[in-house]
Symmetry: C2
Subunit: 463 residues, 2 copies
């Protein structure tokens, strides 16, 4: 035990370890990168949970398995997984596969470090700073702060916590009981993380005042004014408005200038949830949709959605230059953030967040950006808009594409079981169920849009 | 624009995309897996931030770059990154490289999906369930619930939120103002996430009552009793005790049986932060250190630490079978968790968490476990204990190894700048600075322990 023979991995056989990794990588290239992105292959191979469990033989046992068996297991995992990189996967706000971003992810995984100190992540601490600076520039800020978070929901929740702390720093120590009742405002089209966050932060979902949206899904600023007055009349203290750039279901962009006016008038923190729409800032043609975002206090922006960096890449950006993030979230743990270090400890980012270990999420975006350039990324965003417009025009030409309501779940079941396509559906207000086609994959063409429409027709032929 | 020619990735050149990925993978094998784990190479190549910034040329420009240039960039990123897989990296509670786990990570990254619905993550939803079941069995539970979180801090914070919700479900809607003042208890040796969490959840850091620890760092149950009485006398309602199995600095295991008795007596939620120590449950020889853990309500356990799965792999385990996670964190978003789906929607895990998108963190652990078997993993844990014991015995034989105090930062600077080794140091109570040697890498041998001691002597020769 513990003599000079290491247990290293494959019983001390690094050659076998390398061979396994090469085989698995080969599998990834063949099955995911080639077949997974091919329109002639299935998006998924549907299995009922019970059957899939048996096929995968998931049980963890006491005995280890051979390399051969392990490779087979990887094969099965890939085979029965949904190919989110497939051109007919329209199901989520992410899709597609960027090889540079994937290269960045593979390097990230191999280096396996945590983003919290310059000491153990020198490259990534500097890189994160640079990437965040670039994203801030696109928002319109020449200075500020920020951090990558484990998803847009956490970014939004951080923003609410920062706004609360800025107004009532005492809350950190004494808690909400020391504060007056608070109110925050967002539209009925906002992402559900705002309400989840209010509950989690101890504010309670009742503290979220829901502002009306117009028929396109945009927040109505006049109703925001009204809700603020109402909250005040009820004795609550308004402190934050969360606007949305690219709502989850309708893709609506709230009127940020008008909302900023309201926030300014009432001295409220303005947060913009641009998890989906933030990437539109890269497009000279379409960035007007976010006019006014530069007046926000905080912005959540997920490049893993429209920019295809891979999960997760979620930036929280701040206009603040007063070290608010560290003051609000920090705890100065002496075992990690020693102040007698031999380098500039302000580089240590760990106290910007409530997490401790934090994954490296900047490399995939940085590498993809280096490869594509801002121009290449802009082209992608413009293409997404062009394809979405094409789809709308084509839908108008076809009959029977307005009310899918009750048939949506049936069409969904059919497409998944055939594996031909994946699109999400949901009800919306009085509209009942409808399909939400997400155009984000840079590999999409007009042919894929045509396929989508033909396929929906084919699947619904007998209904 | 948007005609039938896709922008796919490398200007529609999948062959080039594959070639790039192959080159990057080759680089990972040569520079990280081979050189990075070799004791004869440097742990890090230290550069001052200013110099490193120039070397990396981090700026993001409008113009894209050639494949050749991108490969060079990956080379530089790897070169200047710390090799956490190196046998002389003792700096954090994670280190080493398991090839199966890395294979699992590469497959995970290529499939790029989110863990929230069975629909888009059929394999991983079932796999997560199975892995959590196995971890729960090791805790001693035949049923329960759980979820993988983005780090142990979030696991701990979730536990506090669940305990609060269980006692006061109304808090979700009405917030903390509707509740009496609450108190939670943890030892002075606990991880800083407990205080960060209390602030974040709106409880305030004052709500955390600090229990004394003995000289080995273990919570003193009698003082816990005393603190509970004190809090009650001050009008606060105790609701949770967070014990620690494997404290961050001293690696102490709190006496869980005695703490469970106290919790039972007072009707308090018992959480165990076993982020570091949980993996000891795999060892028949050493698992007695966690005796009593089966009496906990919740356990946080990070296999990315002692089990080398790679960041992040953080399980939150619950004894609860009443769907507490979903009731506490859920919001039933209609666009994601449609109830009219064609499969059993209780499989959808998204409403277990406050996040929306959630990374797949189970495959790396599952694949490694399949390859090593429980036995192989047990052998690793036992080896870590044996090596730690060996190190202690060797230290006793050497003079001058007791008080490093003021010299710790100097030794640290020297080792990092030479790149020979990385160990974390910190002050502790009256002890001043000392080095915390973390033994977690399965590739370690006695020779590495000897190197560590010799190197510390060499670096401090002139002091």
């Amino acid at each position: 035990m513990a003599d000079s023979k290491p247990l290293f991995s494959l019983d001390g056989n690094p050659v076998a370890a390398e061979a396994l990794l090469r085989d698995v990588f080969g599998l990834v290239v063949d099955e995911v990168i080639r077949k997974g992105t091919s329109a002639s292959e299935k998006v998924c191979e549907w299995k009922e949970p019970k059957e899939l469990k048996q096929l995968l033989d998931l049980e963890l046992r006491s005995q280890g398995e051979s390399q051969e068996k392990i490779l087979e297991r990887c094969q099965a995992v890939i085979r029965y997984s949904v190919k989110t990189c497939h051109p007919h996967f329209f199901n989520q706000l992410f899709s597609g596969l960027d090889p540079h971003a994937l290269a960045g992810r593979i390097v990230t995984e191999s280096l396996n470090t945590s983003q919290y100190t310059y000491e153990i992540a020198p490259v990534f601490v500097l890189m994160e700073e640079e990437v965040l600076k670039k994203l801030r520039e696109l928002v319109g800020w020449s200075s500020g702060d920020g951090v990558f978070c484990p998803g847009g929901s956490i970014s939004n929740i951080y923003a609410v916590n920062l706004a609360r702390y800025q107004r009532y720093p005492d809350c950190k120590r004494r808690g909400l009981r020391a504060l007056p009742p608070l109110a925050l405002f967002t539209s009925k089209e906002c992402h559900y993380s705002i309400k989840k966050g209010a509950a989690f932060l101890g504010l309670g979902t009742d503290s979220v005042r829901v502002v009306k949206a117009d028929e396109r899904g945009k927040m109505i600023p006049e109703d925001l004014e009204r809700q603020i007055s109402l909250a005040e009349a009820e004795g609550a203290v308004p402190f934050l408005v969360s606007a949305t750039s690219g709502t989850t279901v309708l893709g609506a962009f709230d009127p940020l200038e008008a909302i900023a006016d309201v926030c300014q008038r009432h001295g409220l923190w303005m947060h913009v949830d641009a998890a989906w729409g933030g990437s539109v800032l890269l497009s000279q043609t379409h960035r007007h949709l976010l006019d006014g975002i530069q007046r926000a206090d905080s912005v959540a922006w997920n490049p893993h959605k429209l920019l295809t960096t891979g999960l997760q890449c979620s930036a929280l950006l701040l206009q603040d230059t007063s070290n608010l993030l560290k003051r609000c979230h920090g705890s100065q743990a002496s075992y990690l953030f020693q102040q007698d270090k031999f380098y500039d400890v302000t580089l240590d980012t760990g106290d910007k967040v409530v997490q401790c270990g934090r994954r490296v999420d900047c490399l995939k975006l940085w590498l993809m950006w280096k490869a594509q350039g801002g121009q290449g990324l802009e082209r992608r965003v413009d293409q997404d808009f062009a394809l979405a417009r094409y789809l709308v025009e084509e839908i108008k030409k076809r009959e029977g594409f307005v009310l899918v309501m009750e048939v949506a779940p049936i069409l969904k079941e059919r497409m998944v079981k055939e594996g031909s396509m994946m699109i999400g559906y949901q009800p919306h207000g009085t509209r009942g169920n409808f399909f939400r086609v997400v155009v984000a994959n840079p590999a999409l063409t007009r042919a894929d849009m045509d396929f989508l429409l033909n396929e929906l027709e084919r699947l619904g032929q007998d209904l």
